[in-house]
């Protein structure tokens, strides 16, 4: 960005070769982003992300209950985790919940986003209403749904034909279903917002041309809208995946990892180990494993989707 702006005047008025060189180099010295420009961000990033990450990595090789000095135990925490059935289960559950989130939320938010991108007044009003869950904290949302889904005094008591005995939090399948539902309820609006913005940015001429060619609404959607939203799909999916891998509050409040360990996802397991069991070494190992997993998954999504090539979405160019 900055490079373009500062170099632009130089490029526009090339008069005499003799004067160009010093001008360009002085502009470079003054305007080009050097290392110094990145220094504040680098310092903050190092201080608040890299340094703690390194410390967590170190801690994962130690045994520490929060009192006294940590003791170096080598790979003990890691080998314990590798043999821990709950850890393996938690990884599986985390992936399952993440996948559920992506599979449910992506189509839903594309449809809603494209719909909300229209310009009628009622859509604008409805969109605003619809975005309200986004304003609530995950904690508030979870407390709210826990109360609404109470088997004796909540919705299940009134709709026994649908909920049976209402034991939603007492069985694995339904407990996972509730978790997926609540995060869908809360985060679909956010992804809808992304798609709404992206859909509005699609040039109208494409639709006009399609209409002249006789394409109906469905063909327009599948052949123009959806391809044009490709980069937004990738962005939204990465957010969903990384968000899914680090989900925490909903589990903490809705199920506490239960019944048994049936909804104990990795992030919650880390919290249990470190802050309830005071086994900070094991907690650090889980945290580090999560960071590594999230990074790998993000990289895969970026690579597979071709997002890193930054192909243009402009009309006529592909």
């Amino acid at each position: 960005m900055t490079t373009q702006i500062t170099s632009a005047p130089v490029a526009v008025e090339p008069r005499k070769g003799a004067r160009r060189r010093p001008e360009a180099s002085s502009a470079a010295r003054v305007g080009r982003p050097g290392f110094l420009w990145a220094l504040p961000a680098t310092v903050f990033f190092a201080l608040f992300a890299i340094a703690p990450l390194i410390m967590v990595a170190v801690l994962s090789f130690m045994s520490w209950n929060g009192l006294g000095s940590p003791e170096f135990v080598g790979l003990d925490n890691w080998s314990r985790l590798a043999d821990d059935p709950v850890m393996l289960k938690s990884v599986w559950l985390t992936l399952l919940l993440t996948a559920l989130g992506v599979v449910i939320q992506t189509p839903l938010s594309i449809l809603l986003g494209v719909w909300a991108a229209g310009h009628q007044r009622n859509r604008a009003v409805l969109s605003v209403v619809y975005f309200i869950p986004l304003l609530l904290s995950a904690t508030a949302v979870s407390v709210l749904w826990r109360a609404l889904l109470d088997p004796n005094f909540g919705i299940p008591a009134r709709a026994t034909w649908l909920f049976g005995d209402g034991n939603l939090f007492g069985e694995q399948a339904t407990a996972i279903g509730v978790l997926a539902f609540v995060s869908t309820w809360q985060f679909t609006p956010f992804h809808t917002l992304i798609y709404q913005g992206a859909a509005r940015a699609i040039p109208q001429v494409l639709y006009q041309a399609a209409e002249i060619d006789g394409a109906g609404r469905y063909r327009q959607f599948f052949h123009i809208t959806l391809p044009q939203l490709r980069n937004s799909v990738v962005t939204s999916m990465i957010l969903m995946i990384v968000g899914g891998l680090t989900t925490f509050e909903t589990v903490l409040i809705l199920t506490q990892g239960g019944p048994g360990t049936d909804t104990t996802i990795s992030a919650y397991y880390m919290y249990q180990k470190a802050f309830k069991g005071f086994d900070f070494g094991a907690g650090a190992a889980i945290a580090l494993a999560l960071v590594i997993a999230a990074t790998i998954v993000s990289l895969i999504v970026v690579r597979v989707s071709g997002y890193d090539k930054m192909r243009s979405d402009m009309e006529g160019v592909s």
């Binding site: 608040f48 340094a51 703690p52 990450l53 410390m55 967590v56 170190v58 801690l59 209950n65 929060g66 009192l67 006294g68 000095s69 986004l134 407390v143 826990r146 109360a147 889904l149 109470d150 088997p151 004796n152 005094f153 005995d165 209402g166 034991n167 939603l168 939090f169 007492g170 995060s183 985060f187 956010f190 990465i238 957010l239 990384v242 968000g243 680090t246 989900t247 506490q256 990892g257 239960g258 019944p259 048994g260 360990t261 992030a267 919290y271 249990q272 470190a274 802050f275 309830k276 069991g277 005071f278 086994d279 900070f280 907690g283 650090a284 945290a287 580090l288 999560l290 960071v291 999230a294």
Partner: protein, 434 residues
Amino acid sequence: MKTRVRLPRLLACGATVALALSLTACGNGDGGGSSGDGKIHVLVYGDASNKVEKQIVDKFNKTSDVKAVLDTIPGADYQQKLQTIINTPQAPDVFFNWGGGSIQPFVKADLLMPLDDFIEKDPGLKANFLPSVFNSAVVDGKSYGVPMRGTQPILLFHNKQVLDKAGVKPPKTWDELLDAVKKLKDEGVTPISLGGGDRWPTLMWFEYLYDRVAGPELFEKALKGDKDAWASADSKKALSMLKELVDAGAFGKNYDSVKYTNGSSPALLASGKAGFELMGSWYYAQQQEDAKEFAETDLGYTAFPTVQGGKGDPTNVVGNTNNFYSVLKKTKHPEAVAEFLKLMYSDEFVKAQMAIGNLPTTTSTRKFLDTAADPEYSRFQYDLVAKAPSFQLSWDQAYPPSAITPIQQAVQQFFNGQLDADGFIKAMQALPTE
């Protein structure tokens, strides 16, 4: 939204750990302590009981040169926050705890002062408290805590109206309880309300039944690391009785979706949808607040039923014996702390606690029972605790903190059938005991 917040937060959690790590590394051997300023800091769990604690601190400060400062930590994070600061220069001189396993890591880390010297100088520091309560803050034969606040035995509460309608009397024996379950079920109500979503209410059933069937010795052995205790015949008998109760439909089918902490399981009892609920003595005050009318006319309470042929004394009690004040070894004013602790058995303290509904565990409490908010209820509780040969501290508090989650998971899984008796026994044998 989600991602932007979450990942950094995860890192920040790690950072907190890491930073705390570096802090303690620097702070070791320093022994500074907050008491360098001529004050003693008293750290307590922040809630309604702080009213009395403030009163006591004010009284203490009137006569003492070393002034006491009351610090409160609100909310359920007390134990976590305490553990974070206890080894730093911000550590208090005196702090609130649950005795048993909750202070065991601190004792092990050599942070706490045994109170035996204090007791030698003033035997009243021990003699004025009920022994069954005082003993739950004894670790390795040394006293580490003085009781404060009130005792919280677990009682079997019931809805008088619901029981009358089903022709059921409050059960005195286990068989009567099973019979009551059947009759209540026929009436179409959930026999026993259970906040299984919170898990610790489920644990209460285990604590009582094990005590009645095997006596307190089984758990004491298990706590000391004797894994055979869990596999004993008594243990298996207790489990089979629990299984029988669950299978009889005593708790209905959706108890794991019900919580105590959001008022759902108490509401079942108050609204007449359930007959019984097993809960700590604080339940009474809870119902007074949530369902005043019900609490005043229809809320009944009894001790846990006896078990025929059980080895445990039928008058044994389980629950939270009381909360305790423990003292940090590095306090600069041990004399002032000793004086402060003496206030815990003063008449003024006892009266002030009773006025807010707490039941202190001093031997003098009996004298003041008539001044309690509800004398009848206080008397019932006091007699129960005073006569009890053993007062078993809740399992998840008797064990060290790292065992809390595995215990709660195991009891939940046994109730919902994910674990059979052998699976439960195995889970309990795997618990860390230190």
